[in-house]
């Protein structure tokens, strides 16, 4: 009886273990103020490059997306960081104190820490969706742009008002071509200004119509690889992940409407690459083109023609190839 129980315990225990394929693996936590933010470094150090992933949301879970960066890990070090109040970050950070500046300072401290831990590596930022907003905020603050080798931005915005207008036009265009007259009728009369955007934009109503006309039919979170990764890597269940995401209310209700780095973008001088899923309705291609127009010099915009919001999921091979090329590998 006891032997049988012990055997069963051992069997269950061995099933719970998961093999880590990465050559370099380091877990750490960065504490800034009251936030304890987990960081995972995985991959190949021989390439001399770190790709620091700025996840979206805000409130998402960086390490859950790891399956889509396997190709990067074979050639460079991937750094997965759960931002404060996101993913499996911990501590007692105050949701009421949520700010872009605080996030940018968290990122600065992480970059400075990585430079101490990996002095031989050059650090590239890769931002996705909200991570792009964070990237622009960080790069256009103080001397931060001198700390990193470059920035790859995927389907994210530099300013809220032009982005909202791009979304409005995109929904009207797609709604017309798909025969969704209700969506068109909802968006057509909206006149957005910096002053009224906070009152005009009802996120639930916007996003339900955007998704109805195909803004992003394929989510990484629907992929079994993501689900497995979240199950094994996040401190949360899917239930508590929702709870955590609700801590971003200050962002959605207030701060996003003040976000505008237009002027700062024109002054950036570091290497920048734009990656865009051209079918995306969440952050449409038009936002990418206006980003490109604002930046100095010739900034390449890599188009992913079979992708929406997350090309690392829908066109993974091309994404891996282009990202490695962008960082010089």
């Amino acid at each position: 009886m006891i032997r049988f129980s012990l055997l069963l315990l051992l069997l269950i225990g061995s099933l719970s273990c998961k093999k880590e394929p990465a050559a370099h693996s380091r877990d750490l936590t960065l504490r800034v103020g009251a936030a304890d933010m987990p960081v995972w470094v995985r991959g190949n150090a021989a390439g001399g490059r770190i790709v620091l992933f700025l996840h979206g949301g805000p409130g998402e879970c960086s390490y859950c997306l790891r399956p889509f960066f396997e190709g990067i890990e074979q050639n460079a070090l991937m750094v997965y960081w759960d931002q404060r109040l996101a993913g499996s970050s911990r501590g007692n950070a105050d949701p009421e104190a949520w700010s872009y500046a605080q996030h940018a300072n968290d990122l600065r401290q992480l970059v400075l820490l990585l430079k101490q831990l990996y002095p031989q590596q050059s650090i590239w930022l890769f931002g996705h969706s909200f991570g792009v907003e964070l990237g622009w905020e960080f790069l256009s603050t103080g001397d931060n742009a001198t700390l990193v080798a470059g920035f790859v931005a995927m389907n994210g915005t530099y300013a809220t008002l032009p982005w909202l207008k791009d979304v409005q036009r995109w929904v009207m265009r797609e709604g017309s071509s798909r025969g969704d007259s209700e969506a068109v009728a909802y968006f057509r009369p909206l006149t957005l200004t910096a002053e009224n955007a906070k009152q005009v934009v009802k996120w639930g109503e916007w996003y339900s119509r955007m998704f109805r006309v195909g803004a992003n039919p394929q989510w990484p979170s629907d992929d079994p690889a993501f689900v497995r990764q979240m199950k094994f890597s996040s401190a949360h269940s899917s239930l508590s992940q929702l709870t955590n995401t609700a801590q971003q209310d200050r962002y959605y209700n207030e701060l996003i409407f003040k976000f505008d780095r237009t002027a700062e973008l024109t002054r950036l001088e570091l290497p920048i690459r734009l990656f865009w899923g051209v079918n995306d309705g969440i952050v449409p291609l038009e936002t990418g083109l206006s980003t490109q127009a604002l930046l100095q010099g010739e900034v390449p915009l890599v188009r992913f023609s079979n992708s929406w919001h997350s090309a690392f999921h829908t066109e993974n091979e091309k994404f891996t190839r282009e990202l490695l090329k962008a960082i010089g590998l």
Binding site: I12, G13, S25, D36, S88, L113, K231, S237
Partner: protein, 187 residues
């Protein structure tokens, strides 16, 4: 320094430790495998005392539990505290019980924790982690070998749910599946 009523602290400590101090007659030792969130390995150890020592179909009990789990590359944690439960044992030996846990929670983060003390200056924090409360409930069922085999064993499996708070200014839902072997220390 926030005001902490000394009497309240004493009462909480008494509540936490009471099950350990109770009489030994009818005391059970429980050792189990704890599958935290189903996929994370752990252990569950508990002492259980019946509130009434004579065996009945319906029996209430108090106990003290110490649980551990490992979430690889994320954290490891212990949950410990008093337990209060009610069990029904069928003459066939099959039993089911409902248990309330009043656990404290302490996690230890994976890897090294670096605290930014000022811009670009970092200090390593040993044993960094988080304290919290983790009250929960467990529903379990099993078999009592005393009924037909006169052996001082029980085996059970149970599903527990708890809420850990605070967690990043909010709370976290937690759940675990236990497979437990019970041994009667003092018949």
């Amino acid at each position: 320094m926030p005001f902490v009523p000394c009497g309240l602290v004493k009462q909480i400590l008494f509540l936490l430790l009471m099950p350990l101090c109770m009489q030994a007659q009818g005391q059970w030792l429980k050792l189990g495998y704890r599958a935290e969130s189903l996929s994370r390995p752990g252990l569950a150890l508990a002492i259980e005392n019946p509130i009434r020592t004579s065996f009945k179909s319906w029996q209430s009990f108090v106990g003290f539990g110490l649980n551990y789990y490992l979430h690889r590359h994320n954290h490891q944690a212990v949950l410990f505290g008093p337990q209060l439960g009610l069990r029904y044992t069928h003459p066939s030996g099959i039993f089911g019980d409902l248990r309330l846990d009043l656990n404290l929670y302490r996690s230890f983060y994976a890897g090294t924790t670096y605290a930014a003390t000022s811009d670009g200056v970092f200090k390593k924090i040993p044993l960094a982690g988080q304290w919290g409360f983790a009250p929960g409930i467990q529903l379990s069922g099993g078999y009592d070998f005393r009924q037909h085999y006169q052996k001082p064993y029980r085996i059970s499996t149970g599903l527990s749910y708890y809420q850990q708070w605070p967690y990043s200014s909010s709370y976290r839902h937690g759940y675990a599946l236990d497979l437990t072997l019970h041994y009667l220390l003092q018949p």
